[in-house]
Assembly symmetry: C2
DNA sequence: GCCTGTGAACCTTTTCACAGCA
DNA sequence: TGCTGTGAAAAGGTTCACAGGC
């Protein structure tokens, strides 16, 4: 009764190498993998770092720097040089041996890969403290995204103005998603409402959801889902704080751009 | 000049298996790893899931359920059963074969591992939109954490009341961290200020930092750091939206507690 | 019969190390 | 000489499948 049905999809982003149905009784479960190919598949871990590189490169552009080495970019992005090279190699060759990467070309390429060359319409559902903050947060709406709708179930909030938008009722969700071609739904409701909101967003045609509610939300296979859980983050920190990590080991941070030798406190 | 110095620590949480200094020229770089042992090391990935289990188990407690199978817990937490069993096995044996796990005992054990048996004092630095939202966000301060200070560099904000606290000036940071034994610092400042705030928090003795600013921040080895970057999350979603993932593959979500067959929309 | 605990297989990600090109 | 691009090795994480206890 529970033979297949791997979850996962409900946890992050649609997972490519998921199991083909038909689990084999013993070890030899493979059989697919050949034809998936799709030549330029970019690993999930790399995708998650592209935004970091993108931000770092934009800073360089502002400073009118035209080329950058993997080492420099690594420092700005807070990763290591080997990773930068491997990651960028997945995009194709935008570097020149002995020189580095052309900043402008790389910015363009990453923007294209991330789909930032056009704005994606975003709807925020739930306008409590967090929803308000997200709606106003400059830089959340920036660069490749445009908040086009604010939705709340609370009738007393409907009509309220937030920034340039007016809060609308949840009953208008369907129409509004369709009209404004909302691509990404942000859930900032209480936990109890999160799943239902997700269902409605998906039903209305939204293809990606960012969930801030402290609840597990699941979506059908075609839909992307990511979550940001503040309490969880604190708890993870708490774990490491308590288990005062082995002390030794745990390499030092790279040092970023400023010559700060090692950051205060000795 | 850059032989060792792996960054990483600046990116997430203190990383155990980081390189021992003294990188060997060729392959045989090992030499440590033996004595690290520490018998009950819990893998990073498992630590990141403990909060999920914890939340799910608390819900079960509310419903007066006394035992839970890995399968049930998996569904509530949005992961799969094998992972649940593996994860919990790292905590020791809290399950009974043929029966399941004792909810109460498990809650206690996870709370202890995560250090939630006592409240950790939290300071929020930067009270713009996001900082305000975090300060008010119920559930952010809940369960194992207590916000004990709000700090902002803007003199015009100092003295303003937010919930039960009053915003204090950044010059008081040192004293206030020491007095109230702040363990976790939350950075909700503009990107440009993030590194300096982190430095000051560390210098004042804070051991863990949660960074919301869209900037790379680095900290010395002993300090834990996690980041939450809203723009990054959107960009990752944008990538998957654009590359309309292979469609096939990508297993369905588990279905959560309600019998919703597959979530609306078919 | 049922469900945990776990070795082993598998897959992904990271890191190393160096060939190859400007 | 300097830095990218990349095979290969290592580490980490996930999933399978089943032994073993209730």
């Amino acid at each position: 009764m529970h033979e297949r049905r791997y979850d996962r999809a409900g946890t992050c982003v649609p997972r490519l190498p998921a199991q083909a149905p038909g689990p084999r009784p013993t070890t030899p479960r493979r059989a697919r993998s050949a034809a998936i190919s799709e030549a330029r598949r970019i690993p999930e871990a790399t995708v998650a770092r592209l935004p970091l590189y993108y931000r770092a490169l934009l800073e360089m552009t502002d400073q009118a720097l035209s080329t950058v080495s993997s080492e420099q970019l690594a420092e700005l992005a807070g990763v290591n040089a080997a990773k930068v090279r491997k990651d960028l190699s997945h995009l194709g060759s935008y570097g020149t041996r002995g020189v580095g990467y052309a900043v402008a070309a790389l910015v363009d390429e990453i923007a294209r890969e991330l789909g930032l060359t056009h704005d994606s319409p975003v709807a925020i559902v739930g306008l409590g403290n967090l929803g308000h903050a997200l709606a106003n947060y400059h830089g959340f709406g920036a660069r490749g995204f445009r908040i086009v709708a604010l939705v709340d179930a609370d009738a007393s909030k409907v009509g309220e103005r937030v920034g340039e938008l007016t809060i609308e009722g949840i009953d208008d969700l369907d129409a509004l998603v369709a009209d404004r071609e909302v691509a990404i739904g942000v859930i900032a409701t209480p936990a109890a409402a999160a799943q239902e909101v997700a269902d409605r967003l998906v039903a209305a045609g939204v293809g990606s959801i960012l969930n801030f509610a402290p609840a597990v939300v699941t979506v059908p296979s075609g839909v992307s889902l990511r979550k940001v859980d503040l309490a969880t983050e604190l708890q993870i920190l708490s774990f490491y704080q308590q288990h005062r990590m082995p002390a030794a080991l745990g390499a030092d941070a790279p040092g970023l751009r400023d010559p700060r030798p090692r950051a205060g406190v000795t």
